[in-house]
C-alpha cells in the first residue's frame, strides 16, 4: 500500500476507523509520504465534518406531551357510544339488584316499580346484544339469577328467572331488530 495509491474505499474505511490493525498502520504510513492521498483523506474528513454540522431536527420539547394527548384522544374516541349504553345498563341493573337484595319491604307500587325497572334493564341489555357480545347474555342471566337468589333462595325459582330473563332478552332483541329493519326498508 505504500507503493500504490490508496483506493477511495480504503480511505473511507481508514477515516471511519474500520481497517484492521495492519492495514491501518500501512495507510497511516502512506498518508505521511503521499501528498495526493493525504489531500484525498483531508477531503474525506471534511465531508464528515460538513455532514455533522448540518441542521437536522432537534428534540422537540412538547413532543412527549403531544404524543400522550393524541393517545388519550384516540382512546376516548375508541370507546364507542354503545359501551356507554352498556355501562348505563349495568348501572341500572346493579341499582335494581341492590333494591331487591336489601331488606326494604316493598309492596304494591314499589314492588311493581322494581320489577318494571329490572325488566327494562334486561331489555336494554338485550339491545346491547346487537353488538353480538355473548358476555351480555351471560350478564343478563347472571344478574337476574343473583337478584332472585337474594330474594328467595329457591333453586327452582332461580332457574325459572334465568329462563325468563333469557326469553325476554331474545324477544326484545328480535322485536327491536324487526323494527329497525322495517324502518330501514321504508327509507
Amino acid at each position: 500500500m505504500t507503493k500504490t495509491h490508496a483506493t477511495a474505499e480504503d480511505l473511507f474505511l481508514y477515516a471511519e476507523g474500520l481497517l484492521e490493525d495492519e492495514p491501518h498502520r500501512l495507510m497511516a504510513a502512506h498518508l505521511i509520504t503521499c501528498a495526493d492521498c493525504a489531500e484525498r483523506y483531508r477531503e474525506e474528513a471534511e465531508l464528515t465534518v460538513s455532514l455533522r454540522s448540518l441542521p437536522a431536527p432537534t428534540s422537540a420539547p412538547a413532543l412527549v406531551a403531544d404524543v400522550t394527548r393524541a393517545i388519550r384522544r384516540q382512546g376516548a374516541l375508541r370507546a364507542s357510544p354503545w359501551w356507554w349504553l352498556v355501562g348505563a345498563g349495568l348501572l341500572v341493573l346493579s341499582g335494581a339488584q341492590w333494591l331487591v337484595g336489601s331488606d326494604l319491604t316493598l309492596s304494591g307500587a314499589g314492588a311493581a316499580f322494581v320489577h318494571a325497572g329490572r325488566d327494562l334493564t334486561i331489555t336494554v341489555l338485550s339491545v346491547m346484544d346487537a353488538l353480538a357480545d355473548p358476555q351480555t347474555w351471560f350478564r343478563v342471566a347472571e344478574a337476574a339469577s343473583v337478584a332472585v337468589d337474594t330474594a328467595s333462595g329457591s333453586p327452582t325459582l332461580l332457574l325459572g328467572w334465568f329462563l325468563a330473563a333469557a326469553m325476554v332478552a331474545v324477544a326484545a332483541n328480535a322485536l327491536l331488530w324487526s323494527m329497525a329493519r322495517r324502518v330501514m326498508a321504508s327509507k
Partner: protein, 194 residues
C-alpha cells in the same frame, strides 16, 4: 444528551406500555424522539414541523400496535422501522402533489426552533449545497448517511436498526458518500443551471 436516570430497559418499559402504562411509554418517547425525528427527516420530512408531525404519528401508531412488539428484539429497531415505513408512505403521498416544504422552509423553522447546537441555521452556501445534494440521494443511501453522520450511531447500531449485515451498512455508507461527493463537485455535476 443527558443519560436517562430511569434504569429500566426499553424492552421492560415497552412491556409495561403494552399493559397500558402511559407513563412508561412517555419515557420511551422521551428517549427515542430525537432518533425518530432524524429518521423521518432522512426519509424526506424536510422541515422541523413535518418531522415532528411524523414522529408523533409514529409513536401513536406504535402505541396502538404494542401487542405486536416482540420484547426479545430491541425496541429501538422496532420503532425505527415503523418510523421508516410511515415516512416512506407519507413521502410517496406527498410526491404526488406539488411540494411546498423545501430547504427554505427548513431554514426558517430551524432558525426559530429551540436551543441546542444542531438547531443552528444553515450557516453558508456550502451547507445549503450539501443539504440539497443529500436530499437528492436515493433513499437507502441517504438514510444510512444521516444515521451515521448526523445521528452519529455506530455501525453496529445501524446494522441492528435497519436489520442489515455490517458489510452492507459499510458499503451503503461508502457508496452514498461517493455519490454525494460526485454531486458536490461542480465539474462533474451536469446540466446544472447555476
Amino acid at each position: 444528551m443527558i443519560e436517562p436516570v430511569n434504569p429500566e430497559t426499553d424492552e421492560r418499559l415497552a412491556a409495561r406500555s403494552a399493559r397500558g402504562d402511559l407513563r412508561a411509554y412517555e419515557e420511551l418517547v422521551a428517549r427515542h424522539q430525537r432518533l425518530i425525528l432524524r429518521i423521518v427527516w432522512a426519509r424526506g420530512a424536510w422541515s422541523q414541523e413535518d418531522a415532528e408531525d411524523l414522529t408523533q404519528e409514529t409513536f401513536v401508531r406504535a402505541w396502538e400496535h404494542l401487542d405486536t412488539y416482540d420484547p426479545s428484539r430491541p425496541f429501538k429497531a422496532w420503532i425505527a422501522r415503523i418510523a421508516g415505513n410511515l415516512a416512506i408512505d407519507r413521502h410517496r403521498a406527498d410526491s404526488r402533489r406539488p411540494r411546498t416544504t423545501d430547504i427554505e422552509d427548513m431554514e426558517a423553522t430551524l432558525a426559530t426552533s429551540g436551543p441546542g447546537p444542531a438547531a443552528a441555521t444553515i450557516q453558508n452556501e456550502q451547507q445549503r449545497e450539501l443539504l440539497s445534494r443529500l436530499r437528492e440521494l436515493p433513499d437507502h443511501y441517504r438514510q444510512v448517511i444521516v444515521l451515521r453522520f448526523l445521528e452519529e450511531l455506530s455501525y453496529e447500531e445501524i446494522s441492528e436498526l435497519l436489520d442489515l449485515p455490517m458489510g452492507s451498512v459499510k458499503t451503503r455508507i461508502f457508496r452514498g458518500r461517493e455519490m454525494l461527493r460526485q454531486r458536490l463537485r461542480p465539474d462533474i455535476v451536469e446540466g446544472e443551471a447555476r
